[in-house]
Amino acid sequence: MTELILRDIGILTLVSVVFAIILVIAQKVLNNYGILKIRINKKRDVEVQGGNTLLSSLADKQIFIPSACGGRGSCGACKCIVTEGGGPLLPTEKPLLTKQEIEGNVRLACQVKVKSEVQIEIPESIFNIRRFRTRVTKIEDYTYDTKGITFTLLDPDKISFKAGQYMQLESQPYAKMKQKVVRAYSISSKPQDETSFQLIIRLVPEGICTTWVHQYLKEGDEVYLTGPYGDFFIRDTDADIIFVAGGSGKAPIKAMLEDLEIVGCNRKMTYYFGARTTKDLYLTEYMQHFESVFPDFQYVPVLSHAEPSENWQGRTGFVMPYF
């Protein structure tokens, strides 16, 4: 009886193995498209192994198209223009593209497979995304739980970004935390500084990366960051600007104001900074100095939990009713 069962299991395993081998061989033979060329923005060529998706082929060549879902075709972040060699639009892409995008040859890089020479167009800013080796050169205490950290670039030694974009910081293992994590923080310094940048990081209770930054990171340490990412930056129009950001959210606004101070700006601007108590306020005088820099700028801190003992003279409650 046992022998019979073993024999049956053996046959079944054999059948499965035979099919698996056939499929592996087929995959090797049929999915081998050789080395193919991807032409980017009509001027840059990269050579990749064919048969993979555009997203992963480009990532192999250090060109990082943004992708939030990891290539499953559910987020639609990896849109790029494919002018040649992308094949017909796939049903997996259709739901994530608008009619105009479809007419404009916009495709999802995670769905398009590289099977022939491909021509694509991507924003130049994507080439800017790099992994930077940096040294921590300054740590400032802004409040009891918020620090400003300045990173000086080692390799590459220059960065080009727009005020409002963010970097991804890689933490190192510490204490009981064995794994590295990657977290995003907005750049808080002006883009005109090409050799260094600052991040403002507030301690999150139990936060893996912020705890590391606040309790383990020292001046002189070497740290890795990737970026710049994001499209949170000021558009060139004449509209009034309302900035709303509390806590470490001041970081990108600070970068924008410092940038505008250099390039000049006549637009009407108001910055509402929401916080709980006076202990959470920081860089207040620095923010107020922008009121004399721009023709029409106002810095409005608003406290929601100010104690009577703090003797707060400014606005109270939440920021929304003040717009």
């Binding site: 046959i11 079944l12 059948v15 099919f19 499929l23 087929a26 049929l30 999915n31």
Partner: protein
């Protein structure tokens, strides 16, 4: 079973339609029947896979399972054969017929888990068909499935502008329509019996 393959073929389309009388292959039937075009693509893929897997599983049954007396493993072996075949087919089409791949190939992974395919393989064992009958039954069932999904897709595309009670929209009304179509197909049942 002594029934001619030709009769079996027509019977599989009309009198014992795999979908409307056995209610197999319902999930993709309901989810892909929104547009006639994609329904047709899926239906053609089903015909192709059904016909070939019916033949393959007939061979697997009579030349592997029966000689070793392991008929009780038919469920597992049939599924492995279907899955491996669909995978292989997808690779081949993607490589050598890109145009076909974009119209049919994308539906192939859906078909691996379509119970109509598996159901046909089981029927041909239960009803003791020979090889030719199996192929005819497979092809007929596939065409029957295509017919059913095309009808539903056609009706559903007409329904788009119609007022349907909110609770019935989508799957609800589709199931009711499928039921009425199945009733309609009962009319064919007197012509020939295969069960």
């Amino acid at each position: 079973m002594d029934i001619s393959a030709f009769v079996l073929f027509w019977a599989a389309i009309f009198t014992s339609n795999i979908l409307l009388t056995n209610f197999l292959g319902m999930c993709s039937f309901l989810s892909v029947s929104r547009e006639v075009e994609s329904s047709f693509g899926l239906g053609v893929a089903v015909i192709f896979v059904l016909t070939i897997t019916a033949g393959l599983n007939w061979i697997a049954y009579h030349y592997l399972l029966v000689p070793f007396q392991i008929e009780y493993l038919q469920y597992i072996v049939f599924i492995i054969v279907i899955a491996a075949f669909v995978q292989l087919l997808e690779l081949i089409i993607e490589r050598y017929a890109p145009a076909l791949y974009y119209s049919l190939g994308i539906f192939l992974p859906l078909i691996t888990v379509n119970c109509a395919i598996f159901g046909v393989s089981l029927f041909l064992v239960i009803r003791d068909y020979n090889f030719i009958q199996s192929i005819a039954f497979g092809a007929g069932s596939g065409i029957g499935w295509l017919l059913a999904i095309l009808m539903l897709a056609g009706i559903r595309s007409k329904l788009k502008e119609k007022l349907i009670p909110a609770g019935l929209r989508g799957a609800g009304i589709s199931l009711i329509i499928t039921g009425i179509m199945a009733l309609g197909f009962v009319g064919f049942s007197g012509i020939v019996a295969v069960q």
